[in-house]
């Protein structure tokens, strides 16, 4: 099966290791990906203008439709954005007409039906579990991983359909278990990382990430794992804050694809983490 890889804007400069590790992992799992000329998912402009949000999100789906490929996102905010926009598009005929009118200017059209995956849903639902197990050549035995779920993929669950039990999801833990690592039953795993308030209400937003670091460590995690560009950036920001305050060295926060790449013997360290430490 082939997918259109939707890395997300933030990977272009801030976290290039995300698509890099994702491509390595997917190639090991015999998943073919193609990088289309996608734009922004719409999430960053959602609070400014709903039409702008819809246009950007649906435009990506139209590009995927033109190539007849399902979309594979790495970021939960991208995933949530595309899912929400598609839902809105389907249920609002006026917006549907307006967006398609704008899209036809560049020769695009969307009529629904493009499948949207996140890395986690892909691994959980589309790829044979045994294949993942077999590709784990260096199991992460004994490593305790705290999964940070990421809000926009989980909720609103009726639209995102991320996991069967949105109030008590286990999809992240299921994948972590496959690597040989042990998922920590972390009290704040479903909490927001605080990134949406960065620069807007910085102290409030930073409080959330600091709490996440603190609780994860207290509850026995060796590392925190994310599967979202914005969460990852917020963890990096939190890490800098903690290091700057000089109190402790926080536990590493890594991306799911880096965890997998490590377990598959594709990456030696956690890219970008050791240097920061």
């Amino acid at each position: 099966m082939k997918y259109a890889l939707f890395s997300g804007c933030r990977t272009g400069f801030d976290i290039p290791q995300h698509p890099k590790s994702a491509k390595a992992v997917l190639s090991r799992l015999n998943v073919e990906v193609e990088e289309l000329d996608f734009g922004c998912c719409g999430y960053p402009v959602k609070e400014k203008n709903l039409d702008a949000f819809l246009l950007l999100a649906i435009r990506n789906l139209a590009i995927a439709q033109a190539h007849n490929l399902p979309v594979l996102t790495l970021c939960k905010c991208c995933f949530g954005s595309l899912k929400q926009a598609e839902y809105h598009f389907k249920n609002d005929p006026d917006k549907q007409a307006m967006i398609n009118w704008l899209l036809q200017k560049e020769g695009l059209y969307y009529d629904g039906g493009v499948k949207i995956h996140h890395m986690l849903t892909l691994l959980d639902r589309e790829i044979d579990e045994d294949l993942i197990r077999q590709s784990i050549t260096r199991p992460l035995d004994g490593i305790k991983v705290a999964p940070s779920y990421g809000c926009h993929a989980l909720r609103p669950s009726t639209i995102t359909g991320f996991d069967d039990r949105p109030d008590a999801p286990t999809i992240f833990e299921r994948i972590i278990t496959l690597t040989g690592a042990e998922p920590v039953n972390w009290s704040k795993r479903l909490e927001c990382c605080g990134n949406p308030l960065l620069d807007k209400n910085t102290p409030l937003g930073e409080g959330f990430i600091l709490t996440k670091y603190e609780t994860a460590e207290q509850e026995g995690a060796d590392i925190i794992c994310t599967a979202c560009n914005y969460c990852h950036m917020q963890f990096e920001h939190g890490r800098e804050l903690i290091l700057k305050s000089g109190s402790t060295t926080p536990i590493p926060a890594i991306l799911l694809t880096q965890l997998l790449a490590r377990a598959m013997g594709l990456e030696k360290g956690w890219t970008g983490v050791e240097t920061a430490a």
Binding site: C9, R10, G12, F13, D14, D37, F38, G39, C40, P44, V45, K46, E47, K48, N49, L50, D51, A52, L55, L56, R59, H88, N91, D92, L102, K105, E106, C151, H152, L154, R155, P156, S157, P166, D167, E191, C192, G194, P196, L197, D199, K200, N201, L204, G205, G207, F208
Partner: protein, 566 residues
């Protein structure tokens, strides 16, 4: 031929060339000083012009002493500058267009315009009228014309390129076209010119008066020279004699004009007007047009996108050597200013921009990276923006998601990411940050003007237009299902952290309830709307299906629209 050219338009040629060269030199010096003096982004202490020149020289010497870096530089010159491979990988037609103009023009510039310094030195016995030079000159001219044709086609048909193409883009194309057309026109006019024929016979030939008709016959019949008012009795014997004369006198320095495979057919097309042309020496007039258009372009170069001919090779070398990782801040500052002058307005960034399509919604040209580059350059070189445009510029700048795609795709190797970062910093200094942040500042002001908690709320009767508009949105309309069970507030992580629900607007249920009561103003100003994490916990847990988070989004949209008109 150069001497001949010089003689026909002696004064005009020297004068116009001197003026054009002077303007060019002054322009280039002005630019170079500017590269080290001007800055993009907030002023930083310690970055004087001298410190930046020092840092540049230091960096340059670092390159020159390292064989590895020299190798990288060499690679960048060959692959990126000469062959333009990154452009080829992106879009073949664009690459073909640029290579045609670039190689064709470079060929004409070095081997034709500078023939005295290049061609005559490299090729012994070089004559502009000899093949393969005459043939190659036509090839180069055709290349440029083909490139110019594709350039016009692309700018007229690509819908995004059409939006960003301005007069200077078309002016540059037109200038190039004029130089080429006048060049071909000149060559054709010379082919038919009897005047040129007589001049050349006098200068290079050694034949008697009575031999002239035979040579004229051959050049008229075989090489399309037109002798207006003269009727030459062409006989096989005369032609035979003429061919021998041609062989003896002309062919050493003059190939068959048919080798000029564009100009020769053009000269045949000129036949009907040959009488007028030759009597009035129109060839001399076209010559003037040709060199004047060249000199005009020379003088215009430092002040136009033609400057990229000199700057873009350097920016490509910098990009090949350092990528986006320049170490010294002084050099970063210099590169930002320099990079702006290496932009060709080719539109690659804008065509691939992650948020470019939003131009259709916001009608703000500053959404486009290439438009921002042009405006930042103009501001840096002394054309500041009026406050209103500056505001719009800020809004456009902050729609950018900093995805770095423009820098990765830029065929000129610009580090645009660094320019965006610096401009954003500058806008923040000017109190023009992201609109969403500006709205928060405005709300803080509203807050201080609000009546205290002890003042009872007066509910205004009647329909509120904002609330009515929310009722029409299929998501927002759900607010009327609320029965104030407070599940949203109880599941809100912001409320959990701040512990605040007493002050109005600090808890989600209050906002929804305000809408139920038709109090849109209260809802829009509510602090929880602006402190919302958008985690969707409230919406997920609401037993009545109220889409609380999406309603908050719409309230934010409404305020954004009120404040910024979009």
């Amino acid at each position: 031929m150069p001497l001949y050219d010089l003689l026909t338009g002696f004064n005009l040629y020297t004068w116009s060339f001197s003026i054009a060269s002077a303007v060019f030199c002054i322009g280039i010096i002005y630019r170079i000083i500017g590269f080290f003096r001007l800055s993009i982004g907030p002023e930083r202490t310690g970055f004087t012009t001298t410190s930046r020149i020092k840092a540049f020289l230091f960096g340059l010497s670092g390159i020159l002493v390292s064989p590895v870096r020299i190798l990288h530089l060499f690679k960048a010159v060959i692959l990126d500058v000469v062959l333009q491979l990154p452009l080829m990988r992106q879009n073949f037609l664009k690459w073909f267009m640029h290579i045609c103009i670039y190689w064709g023009f470079a060929g004409l510039f070095f081997f034709h315009a500078l023939e005295g310094y290049v061609s005559e030195v490299i090729f012994p016995g070089y004559q502009s009228t000899l093949s393969p030079f005459m043939f190659l000159r036509n090839i180069a001219g055709v290349m440029v014309m083909v490139g110019v044709g594709i350039a016009i086609y692309r700018r007229k048909t690509n819908f995004r390129l059409k939006q960003i193409s301005r007069h200077p883009d078309y002016l540059a194309i037109a200038m190039l076209g004029l130089i080429m057309i006048s060049g071909f026109g000149l060559e054709a006019a010379k082919i038919i010119s009897s005047g040129v024929f007589y001049d050349m016979v006098e200068e290079y030939g050694s034949l008697d008066e009575e031999e002239l008709p035979a040579l004229k016959a051959v050049w008229q019949e075989e090489f399309n020279v037109q002798f207006p008012g003269e009727i030459i009795q062409v006989t096989p014997e005369l032609m035979e004699e003429g061919r021998i004369l041609n062989e003896d006198n002309c062919t050493v320095c003059h190939s068959n004009p048919k080798e000029a495979f564009v100009s020769y057919p053009l000269s045949i097309a000129m036949k009907p007007v040959a009488g007028f042309f030759n009597k009035n020496r129109i060839d001399a007039l076209i010559l003037k047009i040709h060199f004047l258009s060249c000199f005009l372009a020379l003088a215009y170069l430092p002040f136009s996108k033609f400057l990229h001919i000199l700057t873009t090779p350097v920016s490509l070398m910098i990009s090949g050597l350092a990528g986006q990782q320049i170490k010294r801040d002084e050099n970063k500052a210099t590169r930002r200013v320099f990079d702006l002058s290496a932009c060709t307005q080719c539109g690659t960034c804008t065509s691939h921009c992650a948020v470019g399509p939003l131009y259709e919604i916001f009608d703000n040209p500053w959404v486009f990276p290439s438009e921002r580059v042009t405006r930042i350059r103009e501001s840096a070189w002394g054309r500041p923006m009026d406050p209103e445009s500056r505001d719009a510029f800020s809004q456009g700048s902050f729609i950018c998601t900093m995805c770095n795609k423009c820098s990765q795709l830029c065929p000129a190797g610009l580090d645009l990411q660094d320019i965006w970062k610096a401009t954003r910093d500058q806008l923040e200094v000017e109190s023009l940050p992201d609109p969403v942040i500006r709205i928060r500042e405005l709300l803080k002001k509203h807050d201080s003007e609000k009546p205290g908690l002890d003042t009872p709320l007066v509910i205004k009767p009647g329909k509120n237009p904002v609330v009515e508009s929310l009722k029409k949105s299929f998501q927002a309309a759900t607010f009327s299902n609320c029965y104030t069970c407070l599940t949203c507030t109880n599941s809100c992580p912001v409320v959990a952290v701040t512990g605040e629900t007493r002050e109005f607007g600090s808890a989600p249920h209050q906002v929804i309830h305000a809408l139920v009561l038709g109090q849109a103003e209260l809802a829009k100003d509510a602090s929880i709307v602006w402190n919302c994490l958008t985690c969707y916990k409230c919406q997920e847990n609401c037993p009545q299906g109220v889409r609380i988070t999406d309603i908050f989004y719409q309230l934010k949209n409404i305020v954004h629209h009120q404040e910024f008109g979009i």
